[in-house]
Amino acid sequence: MQLENLLAPLPSTLVTTLALMVLVLPLLSFIINLHNSKKFHGEWISSLILFTCFLLSVYLFLQVWGQEAHHFRFTWFRLAVGSAAYPFTAGILINDLSALMLVVVTLVSFLVHIYSIAYMRHDPHFIRYFAYLGLFTFSMIGIVMADNLLTIFMFWELVGLSSYLLIGFWFIKKSASNAAKKAFIVNRIGDIGFLIGIMVLWSQFHTLDLIALKSLMADSKIMNGEWLSTFSLSNNFGQTLMPEMWITIAGIGLFCGAIGKSAQFPLQVWLPDAMEGPTPVSALIHAATMVAAGVFLLARVFPLLDFQVLNLIAFVGAVTAFMGAFAAFAQNDIKKVLAYSTISQLGYMVMGIGVGAYEAATFHLITHAFFKAGLFLAAGAVIAALHGVEPYLKNDGKPVTLDFQDMRLMGGLRKKLPFTFIIFLIASAALAGIPFFSGFLSKDAILTSSLGYARVLAYEGNPLFYVVPILGFTTVLMTAMYMTRQIILIFFGKNRLPAFIDKPADAIKNLKDVPWLMRIPMAILALLSFGIVFALNPFASEGSWFLQGIDSVALVTPNPFQSYDSNDVLRNLMLYVSQDFHYYVSIGSTILAFLGIIISIYFYNPAKFSRQPKPPGFLARISYHNWYLDKIYDKVFVIPALKLSGWNAAIDRKIIDPFLEGLAVANVVLAHIIGWIDKNLIDGMVNYLARVTRMFAKLFSKVQSGQVQSYYIWALLFLMGLLLWVMF
C-alpha cells in the first residue's frame, strides 16, 4: 500500500467547512459564558448558538445521508521513524453515521439548553453551567467528526473533563465532588486500554487515520501466526510483523475505552453516581454525549475488530444489559432507576456491535438518545414540581429537608402533573420496547441479530453463544418490569407526601406542571420517541429509513478461522440467518414486554404499597447495591490502593524524608566548615600577602618625597658610598 496516496491531503468541501463551524460554535458558547454575570443573558446566546448548530447539522445530514462521505484532511506534522517521515494527518470525516449523530447531539443539547434555562434559573452559578454545557457539546461533536483515533482520543478526554465539571457542578456537596472524581478516574482506567489500542495500530500501520486504517487492515495478512502489513512510503518499501494476537489486543484496547465511557461491565459503577449532577446534565450525558461516545467509537472502529473481540464485546454487552436492568429494580431514587436503565440499554448497543449488527446498534443509539433524554427531562420536571411544596414542609423547630428524588415520597402525581405523566409514559414505552414506539424497532433489530449470531456460532457445537440472546430477551422482560414499577411509584396510587407537610391541601394545590419552557423540549423528545418517526411499518425495523439508508460497513480484519473465507463472510452469514428469526423476535419481545408490565402491576400494586416496606430480601439487596460492585471494588482495589499509598507515604515520611533531611544537615555542616576555611585560611593568606605588599609599598613610597633636595641628598650619599666602595 502506498502510504502517500492513502494519507494524501484532501480538499475541504462546503460540508466539511460547515461541520467545522458546528464544531467551533459550542466552543464559542463556552468562551462567551466564562464570565459570571447574569445580566448578559448568556443562556439565551448559548441556546441560539446551539440552535444554529442544529440547523447546520440538519443541512449537513440532508447533504450527506445516503451520499458519499465527506472527508477533509491535512498533514498535521511528520513523525520520523528511522529514515522514513510518516505524515500524521488530521481532519473531518462526515459520513452517514456522524451526520446523524451531529443532528442528535446538537438537537438534544439544544433542548437541554432550553430546558435548563427554566430548570437552573435559581442557581447562583447559572452562567458557569451554560459554559460547561458548551464545552461538553463541543467535545462530543469533536469525537463525532474526527477522522483519526488520536483526535478522537483528545476530544474523548475533553468529554471526560467536561463531564467531571458537570457531574461535580454542585461541588459543595461532598457526594457530588466524589461522584465527579469517580467518573473521571473510572474513565481513565478505560482510557489506558484505548491508548494501548492506538499504540498497537500505530506501530503496525504508522497511521491513525480511520479510512487509511481500514484499507491497511484489509491489506494486512496473517501468515504462520504472524500479522503482516506491507506498505511503501516515498519509494521506501517497509513491512511490519507482529504475532497475530495483537489484532485482538488492539481491538480489546479500543473496546476498553468504550467500556469506560459507555459504562459497560465491569466499569459501569461511575454512572449511577453521576446522577449527582443537575438533571438536565444527566439527560445530556445519558442521551447524546459521553456514554454515546463509547458506542460511537465502537461503530467508527467496527471494521478493525476481529471475531475474538466481537465475541468479548457481545458477552460484555449482554452481561451489562442484564446487570443494569437487574440493578434498576430496587432503586428508590427516580434518577438512579433511569441511570441503571441507561447502563442496560448501552449494554444492548454494545451487544449489537458485538453480534456484528453495526446498523442495529447505531440505530438503537439514536432512538435511545431521544427517549432517554425525554425520560430524564420528565424526571427533572417531577423533581422541579415537587420542590414547589418546599415552603409547606413540617417544621418542628429545626429545618426539615426532603430528598425530592426519592420515589417513596411520590405517588399519585398522575392527576397533578398530567403533562409530565404523558411524556414519561411515552418515553417509558419506547424504553420498554412496546410496539409503535422507537425503542421497539431498534431493540428488535439487535435481538434478531443476536439470535443469528448465536445460531451461526453455536452451529459448530458450542451452545454457550445462546447466552447472549437469552440475556437480551430477559432484559426486555426486566426493562418493562422496572419501568412499570417506576411509573406506578411516581404517578399512581396515593400521594405519600402529606406525612411530611403541614397543610397538605394547600401544598398539593401548589403541585403543578413545570413551565412551558421546560415542557417544549420534553414534548419534542416524546414525539421523537414514536416509531413512526423512524419507520412507517411499526413492526418492520428493516424498513426504517435508518436501516435502509445507513452506509454498510464490512469487517476487514484478516481471518484467523480457516473455516470461513473472511470475517465479513461470517458476519453476513449471521445477518442472513437472523432474517429467519425476525417475526418470532417481534412477537416474542412484544409478549415479554407486556408480560413484564402485567407482572409489575401485580407486584407493585399501589394498593399494597405501604410507606414502611418490609426489609428488602436477598435479591432486592443485590439489586439495590448494584451487585455490590462498589463494595467489591472498594475491598479489592480502593482499600488496598489506599493502604499501599498509606505505606508509601509512611516510607516517604519515616525513611526517605529523614534520610534526605540528614543529607541536607550534613551538607550544611560541611558548608559551614568549608566557609570557615575559606574565610580564615584562604582569604587570610591573600589578605596577608596584600598587607605585606602594602607595607613594602609604604616603605618605598616614602623615598619618593617629592622634594628635589632630598633626592640630592640621596644621590650624594650613594655617590659617596660608591666612592668608598671603589676605594676600599
Binding site: V703, S705, G706, Q707, V708, Q709, Y712, I713
Partner: protein, 101 residues
C-alpha cells in the same frame, strides 16, 4: 709655590659650599646657584689637572665645554623655575612636592 693641592682644597671647599647651598636653601634659584658652585668646583679640578697635559690641554677644553653646557642648562633650569613659579606662585622647593610617592 702654589701646588696642585691648593687647587684641590679650593675645589673641595667650593664643592662643599655648593652642596651645602643646594641642600639647605628653600629658594629654587639659590639651589640653582649652589649647583653652579658645584660645577665650578669640578671645572677648577679639570683646569688644575690639565697642568699634566701640556701638549693637548684636554682638561681646559673640557672645562670650556662644561661652562657652555652649564650656561645652557642654567637657562633651561631658569625657564623651568619660571614655569614653576607661574604654576605654584612660589619658588620654595618645600612646597613643590607633588611627585611625592
Amino acid at each position: 709655590m702654589i701646588t696642585i693641592t691648593h687647587y684641590l682644597i679650593i675645589s673641595a671647599l667650593l664643592f662643599s659650599i655648593g652642596i651645602a647651598v643646594a641642600l639647605t636653601k628653600k629658594n629654587a634659584i639659590m639651589v640653582l646657584i649652589g649647583i653652579e658652585l658645584v660645577f665650578n668646583a669640578a671645572n677648577i679640578n679639570l683646569v688644575a689637572f690639565s697642568r699634566y697635559d701640556q701638549t693637548m690641554l684636554q682638561g681646559q677644553v673640557f672645562a670650556l665645554f662644561i661652562i657652555v653646557v652649564a650656561a645652557a642648562e642654567t637657562a633651561v633650569a631658569l625657564a623651568i623655575i619660571l614655569k614653576l613659579y607661574h604654576h605654584y606662585r612660589s619658588t620654595e622647593l618645600d612646597k613643590i612636592n607633588q611627585l611625592k610617592g
